[in-house]
């Protein structure tokens, strides 16, 4: 930051510094306001249910019983399955763009496709999932003699995976782009093949960066609302199988917030939001810290 001595000249500098500082204060107040608001509105639910809010498996607005275990499980399941599906695919795209085709037509085309898909709003993925993916899944379920819901945890995990691929691939090729050239050249000069360089140098060197990418993608998946809401089936019971309907915390809020007629109901939904907020904030900061360490390690 600029030294005080240099600032005491014209009042313009003082007021400019003041304006900059107030923008910083504004963002701190905003985040504090977010935490306080979520906590304030959750307080009734927090004091009524305590820990049972997380361990309870019944969500019943009629009897006034609120436990979010089904949604916690639904959120984790959809996000983890989505990660498992999307990880190898985005890694392949990452290697394609970041190692084999760093320039030229294939690079432009693949990057263009990735950016195009990243730009499609989640509501449209949900819409497509509802009209295309759900019938396909239903066909398979009939084929394998599973209850043919079509909608459900697995279906939303696929939609989520499709949405995450462009995001994690773009983190991926930025990360492996930071691997020092000298390291790779050293391995080539020892007679390593390209496959060996990718495996033993590029990927092992960028391990922590890729881990961070996975974390950040996970954070994205946890908070994703609309696409999931449209294809998960919105069942408030504990999910019986990953092929059956379920619900996530985000889509619970989306579905029921305008219906919350009494204070406790509203408070329970705010507490769900609070938990979602804390979990995603922790994951995001963790991911960013790992990325930062990785980036400063490459310099």
């Amino acid at each position: 930051m600029i030294n005080k001595l240099a600032m005491n000249s014209f009042s313009g500098d003082q007021s400019f510094k003041f304006i900059l500082l107030s923008s910083a204060a504004f963002i701190l107040m905003l985040v504090a306001g977010i935490v306080i608001t979520l906590y304030y509105y959750s307080s009734l639910s927090l004091s009524t249910f305590g820990l049972e809010f997380i361990t309870g498996s019944t969500w019943d607005p009629v009897s006034g019983e609120y436990g979010i275990l089904p949604f916690l499980i639904g959120t984790l399941l959809t996000s983890i399955i989505a990660l498992v599906i999307s990880f190898p695919l985005s890694l392949i795209i990452t290697i394609f763009i970041g190692e084999y085709f760093t320039t030229g037509m294939p690079n432009t085309l693949m990057r263009g496709a990735v950016e195009l898909l990243a730009g499609i709003p989640s509501i449209i993925y949900g819409f497509w999932g509802l009209f295309v993916l759900v019938p396909i899944v239903r066909e398979f379920q009939i084929l394998f003699d599973i209850a043919p819901y079509g909608v459900g945890i697995f279906t939303s995990a696929i939609v989520l995976a499709i949405m995450i691929i462009p995001y994690s691939a773009s983190i991926g090729y930025e990360v492996i782009g930071l691997v020092p050239k000298e390291l790779k050249e050293a391995a080539y000069s020892l007679g390593a093949t390209r496959y060996e360089v990718i495996k033993n140098v590029t990927l092992s060197y960028s391990g922590s960066g890729i881990t961070a990418g996975v974390l950040l993608s996970f954070g994205r998946a946890l908070g994703e609302t609309m696409a999931v809401t449209m294809v998960i089936g919105n069942s408030n019971l504990l999910p019986g199988s990953i092929f059956g309907p379920g619900n996530t915390m985000a889509s619970l809020i989306a579905n029921e917030f305008t219906e919350a007629a009494n204070e406790l109901y509203l408070s329970a939904l705010f507490e769900t939001g609070l938990i979602l907020f804390i979990v995603t904030a922790v994951i995001n900061i963790l991911g960013k810290i790992i990325i930062k360490k990785f980036v400063s390690g490459t310099k």
């Binding site: 930051m1 600029i2 030294n3 001595l5 240099a6 000249s9 014209f10």
Partner: protein
């Protein structure tokens, strides 16, 4: 030689805990070129940045002692006014990339919000570019961005920009270290021509350059002023052993 324009008395500069300049006493005479030389890290750049108070932008900088411009302590004058009286040319040519050559020359006026008539502006631009020996090369391209100029031309544009403010002192911080020998020669000629109108302080690590262009030379070593005198005298009969070793290339 003329009267003393700038007098430095008992100057100490610290960055946080480190003592960069130690008890410097030095004065600069009107219409002369004073070279400040010494091995890297000796505090040359810090010394001239203290003169136009640019050092204050470095975090943790602290000074003791006085620097007087025509008898007035610089620390009593607003730093903004100091910088308008004491111009500076940097190591790397740094014209403003978003501005045309014309706008670069009058940038000091424009950015400070001075209102000038078109005629005044034109005369300042032409006058400064002529003084900086750049006019003939750019007069047909005044409204183009400076990016297409060569490094040496860019550096002369920066000199024109500083001259446009009519400074009393012009500080050069190793102005030719990024330039080729021909461009360096032009800048050195220019410094020689310019001293008729103002006082010049030149930081250089190039001993030959100091010998070529300066009237006086100050030799700094590890933050201390080892020797100061006319360039002729110092280069022929240095008083201090350290100076002699440096001039003979024993270290640096």
């Amino acid at each position: 030689m003329g009267s003393k324009v700038l007098k430095i008395d008992g100057l100490n500069v610290y960055y946080d805990q480190s003592h960069i300049l130690k008890d410097i006493n030095l004065s600069f005479a009107e219409n002369t070129v004073t070279a400040i030389m010494g091995p890297s890290g000796c505090g040359k750049t810090t010394l001239i940045r203290t003169i136009n108070r640019m050092h204050e932008f470095t975090h943790g900088a602290r000074t003791e002692g006085s620097i007087k411009l025509y008898g007035k302590d610089l620390h009593q004058i607003d730093p903004i006014l100091v910088r308008r009286k004491v111009g500076m040319v940097f190591q790397k040519p740094n014209p403003f990339p978003t501005m045309s050559i014309y706008d670069n020359v009058i940038a000091g006026y424009k950015l400070n919000g001075f209102k000038l008539s078109k005629i005044e502006k034109n005369s300042i631009v032409e006058g400064s570019l002529v003084k900086a020996a750049l006019w003939d090369e750019v007069k047909d391209n005044l409204y183009k961005k400076g990016a297409f100029l060569s490094g040496g031309q860019q550096q002369r544009l920066c000199i024109a920009r500083a001259l446009a403010m009519n400074p009393e002192i012009l500080l050069f911080d190793e102005p030719t270290s990024a330039l080729d020998p021909i461009a360096t020669d032009r800048i050195e000629q220019l410094i020689n021509e310019l001293k008729a109108g103002l006082t010049i302080v030149l930081v250089t690590h190039n001993i030959a350059q100091a010998a070529r262009v300066s009237d006086y030379t100050a030799f700094l070593y590890l933050g201390e002023l080892i020797e100061f005198g006319t360039t002729k005298k110092m280069f022929t009969t240095p008083k201090n052993k350290k100076t002699e070793e440096y001039l003979n290339g024993k270290f640096g």
